[in-house]
Amino acid sequence: MPLAREAATTRWHARASSISETVGQLTRIWGTAAEEEATAEADDASSRIKGRMRTSVLTLVVIALRPETAERAMSIVNALASRHPSRAIVVSPGDPDGPTTFDAHIYAACHLSPTSHAEVCTEEIFLKTGGELSQHLSTVIAPLLIHDLPVVLWWPDDPPFGSKHYRDLADMCDTLLVDSGSFRDDGRHGLKGLLETVAAGHAVNDIGWARLGLWRELLASLFDHPLLIAELPGVRHLRLDVARPGTTMRISKAACFGGWLAALLGWTVSRPVRETGGDRFAGEFRVGRRTVTVEFRPVGAGSGPNVPGTGSLMRVDLELMRGRAQTRARVTRQADHLLATADWNGAQVARRAGRLEPFEETPFLAEALDRTMQDRVFQMALDKAVELVGQK
């Protein structure tokens, strides 16, 4: 099959109907790219291109069960190409009961780096499989992994934790990337599955957890205040307002946030959260002889272009009491930012604000790809969160 080169963008495209053909097409593309570079240099000594490198810092494997997910994944992968040059393999498994099919689109692109005269080249492989092959994705993907580079598996939908299919893919990868905010139903089973993945020794990056980053930072920053840090051991009540635009009350993010506080402040779960009517959940932590009550409350998600998704945090409220001092620390979602305030005996002593990232995955994915190490705090928080939702 001929290579079609899009000259203006230094982009190549090829198609293949088998793994070996896919590998062959990749080799052909890079051979052509190297020849073109040599010709350009010979023709023009002052050629701007001083080196054409296939630059990869990782292999990114995306499992996109729905066509719209595949489309979204491809556009995110494209947006990330310059910051995280990688071989991206987006797999869209089709009907397992249909005929066995394999169709690969191979894209390669070279971008001229703005700072140096070297071109940075990346690859994307879009694979559609059908029939029995869809049940053996790990064997399809293995030959396409770049030797010796970390493999990141991104599962944008709800991964089938516990299935062999999932385990095989997870075992093949160094880091698993999921979004606990999009786990099915109330998200409890997903959290449990995620903890099992962590316990099996896999490094996990959770986009849902990353979205809590600003919430955590703002709440933490309130307690940088010398007056408030002394109050921190006196937490009595934690209330989390959770967006419920539809009928589902998803508590995975609220549980992770509560789990985070519990892990860092040394609380143990004494009563896991239970529904108390009206989709409210209530539970209890214990620290020493003191009780910390916890409550998840559903609230409307508002309207407008940036409606938070199901399960997003809307407000965190922390009540603290020590001696006669009463403190309230809260973080509230505003239109496009979070506002954190702390009152000490009725007087506001600290106020912070932070801008929210737009509700898209790209920045979080970029951040997650930067961190290939295990996030210890996340693991601790997840452990407590699973206990808090009564799945341990």
């Binding site: 490198m53 070297a118 955590r216 933490a220």
Partner: protein
């Protein structure tokens, strides 16, 4: 005249490596490993967050607030730190300078400076928030009453913004003002650390020779404790320089090779294509040895040569760096200077595509100036690790390109099995590029893929730009944040500065002696010139080179004499 100073509170005892305590206000205290953790209690919720290390709110007092350095580097750096959420919102800036300006006028000046020089675009929302904390105070650096006014203003800002008495004094003035500023800060008690901390950031040059460096250190340390002093060398904030430590001590495979057994020699190049760019008056006083060699190059040398520190902690690191400098023989006889140092000055030539004048034709330069715009020298670090490994250093202006790198040239394999091939493999090389295209290159031999056994050198090249694809922070941002956090690892300690001067000062002294002889019409004797580089420079002790070339011929002779050659950078 003796100024009366308010009684100083007893300095807080610092914890030493062996658990004893002693006052730190003396040179003796330099080698104590301090507990540098902030005084405020730890916030457990900060664990693992992006901003785990966030400084306490403070006021950055910029002396020389309207000057070039403040406008080009310091203000954009503070703004970018604030923008990145790395500074608490209470943080404030107080400009202090002679020019009469209102707060609003200074804010406008700052806006222009940040808009022009910041690496990221100025955003109105963030700017409006930032600028509320920017203030200005007019004053003379040598006038104690103005410092009383400063003290009152600082207390007022503390109350308004909640900066808890934390102050970072940034001396962005000409060096002549340093002693006055520091003395006056002391006179009004602004050096004291009562409620919060007080630190002073001093820009290079730290003195113009060993004696003046000692005097400056004495003047500073009469007021501040060494632990409060941050001598900034922005080279140490550059990503590759910081990475040098990670590269050496974060990898297990390089350190075993990092010694005289495997290393043939080391080349350190700091090249600039620019001329003196209107800084004639400064350059006539400084020259390349004071401007680059004494600080940037010797800092790079000490990072390359240092032993692994016992901890990644400021004084442990600096102890090792200073040991390297002390292992360089500071006894520069005239013969040694003639044989191992090349002093050069550029003449008219072509820089890239335009014709440029010679140094002596530049504005503010004496027509018969003998100031060096280029210096190349050979040094040896006499310790067990490096004895007999030559270090070749060169720096200059109007070289063909702006390029800085450290190149470690390894020895040839003991037996050249593949000598019969059409090309001889070059020895292995590890080059660390500092600018531009920050990165690391490893050169090794590989077989050419065809019949026969031809061997060719190939490069394995890591560039920061293509592996991380993100903007590195400006060196000033990194270093300012470190100073606010109280991490002095990448700042120069008093003894380091003096050790570096003790290497460079005698060379400059020798040159001055030659200059006096030349002015008196004396020429070196035949004996003095024998076996030295003097036969290339005509005996005058300064060699000229055409702008746009890699320095004078004598620099090539310096290294070729040992059977080696400069790398083509």
């Amino acid at each position: 005249m003796t100024a009366t100073r308010p009684a100083r509170p007893k300095p807080a005892p610092s914890r030493t490596a062996v658990g004893t305590t002693r006052a730190t206000k003396s040179r003796d205290a330099l080698h104590i490993y301090r507990d540098e953790s902030e005084a405020r209690p730890d916030n457990p919720l900060r664990t693992g967050t992006r901003l785990e290390r966030i400084p306490a709110p403070c006021i950055v007092v910029i002396f020389g607030a309207t000057g070039d350095l403040a406008q080009r580097k310091i203000l954009p750096a503070i703004y970018n730190l604030r923008r990145a959420g790395l500074l608490p919102p209470e943080s404030a800036v107080l400009g202090f300078s002679r020019r009469p300006l209102s707060d609003d006028a200074y804010r406008e000046l700052c806006r222009k400076a940040v808009a022009e020089h910041s690496r990221v675009k100025l955003e109105d929302g963030i700017w409006d928030d930032f600028v509320e904390g920017v203030h200005y105070q007019q004053g003379e650096f040598g006038d104690p009453p103005d410092f009383r006014g400063l003290e009152e203003r600082l207390e007022q800002i503390d109350d308004e913004r909640g900066t808890h008495g934390n102050r970072l004094y940034y001396l962005a003035t000409p060096p002549a003002a340093y002693t006055d500023i520091v003395a006056n800060l002391g006179k009004v008690g602004l050096d004291r650390q009562r409620e919060g901390w007080a630190r002073v950031v001093i820009e290079k040059p730290f003195g113009h020779d060993l004696e003046s460096a000692r005097q400056l250190n004495d003047a500073v340390m009469r007021v501040f404790d060494e632990s409060q002093v941050y001598r900034i060398d922005h080279y140490l904030g550059k990503e590759t320089v910081r990475n040098l430590l990670v590269f050496r001590f974060g990898n297990g495979i390089f350190e075993p090779l990092w010694n005289r057994r495997y290393v043939d020699h080391v080349q350190i190049t700091v090249g600039e294509d620019l001329g003196i760019e209107g800084r004639g008056e400064f350059y006539e006083q400084a020259g390349a040895s004071r401007d680059i060699l004494q600080n940037h190059m010797l800092q790079l040398l000490s990072l390359v040569c240092m032993e692994p520190p016992i901890a990644f902690e400021a004084d442990a690191l600096r102890d090792e760096k200073v040991r390297v400098l002390r292992a360089i023989d500071p006894r520069w006889t005239e013969a040694r200077v003639r044989a191992q140092v090349v002093r050069g000055q550029y003449q008219a030539g072509w820089s890239a595509d335009h014709k440029v004048p010679g140094y002596r034709e530049e504005p503010e330069i004496a027509p018969a100036s003998r100031v060096e715009t280029f210096v190349a020298l050979k040094l040896e670090v006499q310790n067990w690790r490096w004895a007999d490994v030559p270090f070749y250093l060169r720096t200059g202006k109007r070289l063909p390109k702006r390029a800085s790198e450290i190149a470690i040239q390894f020895k040839q394999p003991p037996l050249m099995l593949f000598r019969d091939g059409t090309t001889n493999p070059e020895p292995n090389l590890l080059a660390m590029r500092i600018q531009p295209d920050e990165g690391i290159l490893l050169r090794f031999a590989a077989k050419v893929p065809e019949l026969g056994l031809d061997v060719r050198s190939v490069n394995m090249d890591f560039t920061y730009g293509s592996s991380f694809m993100r903007d590195a922070p400006e060196a000033y941002e990194t270093l300012l944040l470190d100073a606010m956090l109280g991490d002095a690892s990448l700042f120069t300690r008093a003894d380091e500065v003096e050790a570096a001067w003790s290497i460079v000062s005698p060379i400059i002294e020798t040159w001055r002696e030659w200059d006096r002889e030349v002015e008196a019409g004396e020429q070196p004797t035949k004996e003095e010139r024998a076996g030295t580089l003097a036969d290339v420079d005509g005996g005058e002790g300064i060699c000229f080179y055409e702008a746009g070339t890699w320095g004078p011929e004598a620099a090539d002779k310096l290294i070729e004499h040992d059977g080696r050659r400069w790398r083509r950078v």
